[in-house]
Amino acid sequence: MVALTDLDPRINDEVRIKPSNDVIEWQLAGEGQNTWLRGIMTKEEVEKITQLLTKNKDLFAWTTEDMRGINPRVMSHKLFVCREARPVAQKKRRMGKEKRMATTKEVQK
């Protein structure tokens, strides 16, 4: 029998590769709205790239409200369903009380 640890030697290993330290976090907009820059850059380079990013910060989204969405005339997702397929109703989705209350709250927004 093959032990699971033979197939995946990491199984009990908490050590994971961390991001290499040659990048730095940089605050683009509000608190927590950060992005990453290369760590080793000249002062001038940092200035130029941060200027460019700040100028374009409207291109970044932090919540779904920030998203404009793609104009459906450019692209929409069309389903090509086999002609012989019959419609199937999805099974009713059951949720626990806590989850249900959370979704109700979200839906009413």
Binding site: W36, N56, F80
Partner: protein
């Protein structure tokens, strides 16, 4: 939230639109001195469902029935649709100053100055088509030579540390 679309997916033939291979992307980008990695925000949900297909995504809950107006994450051909969109948006840039894999973009340049120009071009297209980025998953201006190590460490590709340490130590 995830809806189980097994039945719907079974009824849809696979979209054969080609996705680029990772090997090709790494090859294409690795030669460049300056790279930026951009990641689209909440990827598939930026694309709407075709109007007449909205009803096919219906799911039932205790209080109401809902359907998706935007492309849900777990439809079989969602990745192909996204790649098709990105290929269309960046058709004049792919291969020249960027590469695209579904919702991930790599902007590549030989010099820092050129990189600023290339980024400006990409930002212009993103703005024109209404694509938004996820800032926490973007990295700007990294060294080209570190591409593979970067892909392994920053892009969340789970790897066996023993196996890739050789590459990372290069």
């Amino acid at each position: 939230m995830y809806v189980d679309y097994t039945n719907l997916n079974k009824a849809c033939p696979k979209d054969a639109y080609p996705l680029p291979s990772i090997v090709h992307l790494v090859d294409e980008a690795a030669d460049n001195k300056v790279l930026s990695f951009l990641d689209a925000f909440s990827r598939y949900n930026q694309i709407q469902m075709y109007n007449k297909d909205v009803a096919k995504t219906t799911f039932i809950t205790k209080t109401s029935n809902y359907c998706y107006q935007v492309m849900p994450f777990d439809l079989k051909n969602a990745g192909a649709t996204y790649q098709r969109l990105m290929d269309r948006i960046f058709k004049n840039q792919i291969g020249r100053n960027m590469e695209v894999y579904v919702d991930g973009m790599v902007v590549k340049s030989d010099t820092f100055g050129q990189h600023l120009i290339n980024l400006t071009e990409v930002f212009g297209r993103l703005r024109r088509f209404g694509i938004r980025l996820n800032s926490t998953k973007c990295v700007f201006g990294v060294e080209g030579g570190k591409l593979l190590g970067f892909m392994l460490t920053h892009r969340g590709i789970e790897t066996n540390p023993d196996k890739c340490s050789a590459i990372l130590d290069m």
